[in-house]
């Protein structure tokens, strides 16, 4: 077949295959230098391809001695075997293509109405590329016809201390905790998370971080562990919250103290650590932030801090790009010195970011709805929903542990350090956070979901893999339905896909 095309010279003339055969001669093929090179196929089943009378007289087209017939089959065969055909696109073993159709898709922060989503081999694929390249349709079509459905990226939770009675600070059992939590979170639509460790002595980090490193990454049927969020121990003792004051420290020796505390994983390219929360006003911290940002991609977040606005701004200039649970464990907003909260209203120049991202817990306890609204209106693109959930979340019971602390469930939504009124993490779930953000701020559901997906992914520099549903990103997504026209915050998680596989509950 290819030889045939090579034989076609530049001066070839195609003799029409589809002229009016009633009046013209049934010649069809290529004329090269006035020689008929090929007779192109005529499908016997297409009588009007040639005029009816040719076939009715049972006459065959005149075959030139040098000619040969090209059939449709040959054309197909040629396409498949040509080097330009995307044979590399059909990997071994064959991965099936699933097409979701007649649904809305939240892609890169925007709802696209009546869209399709194509999934193959754990990734979102560009259907046009598949269509034109592999010349292959979907193996499975999931049609949501007639039912309002939204496919959104799977939620990311960048701050979660535990769940279902398991606490990540329970070091000997960390593997079990990660296993249980990463499986359990899926039903809440959370498909990746940063297990969060409260302030601990250095040896704890040395012991636990390698275990987290080992558990990092994708695993079938589990939410992905993105890396640890380490809160502390470089935190202000005056804003310790539920952290053990005895293990808090500063960094008088600069970056050496960081290495000493967290160990060698700090500088590994695929570090076990995703986020470190620090109080920037502590001795040596600015230097540490700067040094760390030069050596790794770990996100530095500001939290549990007494810092004033100037100091917080300097920390952002040094490389910090996030604020941990905004409003909590930091100086309250004051109009003459807005403290770290002021950063969300700033427009910093000569800094890596003009405004940092901020984690916010919208359980209605950690921040008043009105405060959430102020923050959201000031910097909507920086809003990252986090649960800051502890082991008390997702289970019944009254007494739980958080690191070295004992905590007590005070109400449905509130947990406190036993014997005090200090809030110790939350028991909220991500879908509730999303619903609350809609209720508190009046934003759309899509905007609220962005705060749990796109913003979080951008915050930790993972938007090439998570939170966008763009072609090439991981096929982690949730299928939402059960919307209410009167209440935009209402939705139901119909199913969850992680790595392109449907999660069975």
């Amino acid at each position: 077949m290819r030889e045939f095309f090579h034989a076609i010279k530049r001066d070839s003339v195609l003799v029409s295959a589809n002229a009016d055969f009633k009046t013209t001669k049934p010649s069809y093929g290529f004329l090269t230098q006035h020689r008929l090179n090929a007779v192109l196929p005529v499908l016997p089943s297409r009588p009007h391809l040639l005029s009816d009378h040719i076939f009715s007289n049972k006459a065959r087209p005149i075959q030139h001695p040098d000619s040969f017939e090209i059939t449709l089959e040959m054309m197909k065969h040629d396409r498949a075997s040509s080097p330009t055909a995307m044979e590399t696109d059909i990997p071994e073993p064959y991965q099936k293509i699933i097409k979701f159709t007649h649904c809305d898709v939240l892609r890169n922060g925007k709802i696209i109405k009546d869209e399709t989503l194509w999934v193959r081999g754990g990734k979102i694929v560009d259907p046009a590329a598949l269509f034109y390249g592999a010349e292959h349709g979907p193996d499975e079509v999931i049609d949501f016809k007639g039912k309002k459905t939204l496919i959104a990226p799977g939620f990311l939770d960048l701050q979660i201390n535990g769940f279902f009675g398991y606490d990540f600070a329970d070091i000997p059992n960390i593997e079990t905790s990660l296993e249980v939590v990463s499986k359990g979170l899926l039903k809440y639509g959370v498909t990746s998370f940063c297990p969060t460790l409260v302030s601990s002595p250095a040896e704890v980090y040395h012991g636990v971080l390698p275990k987290i490193a080992a558990r990092k990454g994708k695993k079938s049927g589990h939410a992905e562990v993105l890396g640890a969020h380490i809160e502390g121990p470089f935190l202000s003792s005056q804003k310790k919250g539920a952290h053990d004051v005895d293990v808090l420290r500063s960094a008088p020796n600069g970056y050496a103290d960081f290495i000493d505390c967290y160990g060698p994983t700090l500088e590994e390219p695929d570090s076990a650590i995703a986020i470190i929360t620090v109080a920037p006003e502590l001795e040596g911290l600015h230097a540490c932030i700067k040094e760390l940002k030069q050596r790794s991609k770990i996100v530095v977040s500001l939290g549990h801090t007494k810092s004033n606005y100037k100091d917080a701004e300097a920390a952002v200039a040094a490389g910090a790009s996030m604020i941990t649970h905004l409003f909590n464990a930091m100086e309250p907003f004051h109009h003459r010195d807005p403290g770290p909260v002021g950063l969300i209203g700033s427009s910093l120049q000569n800094c890596p970011v003009d405004k940092p991202f901020y984690g916010i817990i919208t359980d209605g306890v950690h921040a008043d709805p009105s405060s959430v609204r102020i923050a959201y209106v000031a910097h909507p693109e920086g809003c990252v929903l986090v649960t800051d959930a502890i082991s008390a979340a997702g289970v019944d019971g009254e007494i739980f542990t958080l690191g070295t602390m004992t905590v007590r469930r005070k109400s449905e939504v509130e947990v406190v350090i036993d014997g005090t009124e200090t809030i110790a993490g939350s028991v909220v779930t991500m879908p509730t956070c999303i619903k609350n953000l809609v209720r508190f701020t009046g934003c759309t559901l899509a905007q609220a979901i962005n705060a749990a997906t796109l913003h979080a992914a951008k915050c930790i520099g993972l938007e090439h893999r998570k939170g966008t549903l763009m072609p090439g990103t991981d096929a982690d997504f949730v299928i939402l339905d059960g919307f209410d026209e009167k209440d935009p915050s209402v939705f139901n998680i119909a199913s969850v896909y992680v790595n392109g596989e449907k999660v069975e509950f």
């Binding site: 054309m75 330009t84 046009a128």
Partner: protein, 284 residues
């Protein structure tokens, strides 16, 4: 040649889409006997594609056994560029319907050997038995596909240099930067289009009025390449009132009167087919 004059663009699209629907369904395509459809890109056909998608959704139309050939594609524009005609077709038609990928043919502007790509394209058209119905739109200068003024009326699929006017006009799709607009395109020739067993051209808007008058009131002329349709045994133009601005009143009235008679004849059960030819029943 038929000239169908409709009130406005929407009606043009509705009529055209219904015509395509009726033609495909009348043809009753099967895997062995597919319907071969030629397709344009550009602003004119968007409305038609919308209607076709709607018909498909309502279960009235299937593209399962439809083979398509597109008119043209830019050279050296990435396939996934939003302005590529691959992207256009995907967004406007293919992604919404049940067409099979192997049945879709669009010239590959990134092929290593562009000339071979063009020759092969012609061979592919021939291999499936030629195009049954070629839809087309035109440019303000009366070009069909990228066959700009002066193109040979017997031209085949080939590489074409774009006119400077076209490049400037298209720069609006490339962020207003003339330098980003591809300067070459692959296009089917006027001859390729005219080889189809039926050609239907959509012309809409006052901007195309002069082209329409040149196309049908003047002679066949390579400066208005779409005028080649005059020589086609089954040519049809569907236009809106705005596009008739430059036509003689007489011309408009004439074609309207013809269509009036035609519509009387082509009602269901009549002896005249969609194509205007007399139908012979089995008994005869």
């Amino acid at each position: 040649m038929r000239l169908i004059i409709k009130d406005k663009y929407d009606d043009v699209c509705q009529y055209t889409a219904e015509y395509v629907l009726a033609r495909i369904n009348e043809f009753n395509p099967t895997a062995e006997r597919p319907f071969v459809l030629g397709l344009p890109t550009g602003s004119s056909p968007i409305g038609v594609y919308k209607k076709l998608v709607q018909f498909h959704r309502e279960g009235m139309l299937s593209f399962k056994h439809v083979i398509t050939f597109n008119m043209d594609e830019y050279v050296h524009l990435p396939r996934d560029h939003p302005e590529s005609y691959h992207s256009f077709m995907w967004e406007n038609l293919f992604k919404h319907v049940d067409i099979q990928p192997q049945n879709v043919n669009i010239l590959d502007g990134n092929a290593k050997d562009l000339e071979k790509e063009c020759t092969e394209y012609e061979a592919k058209i021939a291999a499936v038995g030629g195009i049954e119905l070629f839809l087309g739109g035109i440019g303000p200068d009366g070009h069909i596909a990228f066959n700009e003024p002066g193109s040979s009326l017997s031209s085949r699929t080939r590489i074409k240099t774009l006119a400077y006017e076209t490049i400037i006009a298209n720069s609006r799709f490339f962020g207003g930067d003339v330098n980003k607009v591809p300067k070459l395109a692959l296009t089917v020739g006027v001859g390729t289009v005219m080889d189809a067993r039926e050609v239907l051209v959509i012309i809409s808007g006052a901007g195309k009025a002069l082209a329409l008058s040149k196309c049908i009131e003047d002679g066949v002329n390579h400066m208005w390449t779409v005028s080649a349709i005059q020589l086609h045994p089954r040519g049809m133009i569907v236009c809106d009132e705005d596009a008739t601005l430059e036509l003689h009143v007489k011309t408009v009235k004439y074609f309207k009167s013809i269509e009036k008679v035609h519509s009387l004849l082509t009602t269901e059960g009549s002896k005249v087919g969609l194509d205007g030819k007399v139908r012979y029943s089995e008994a005869q």
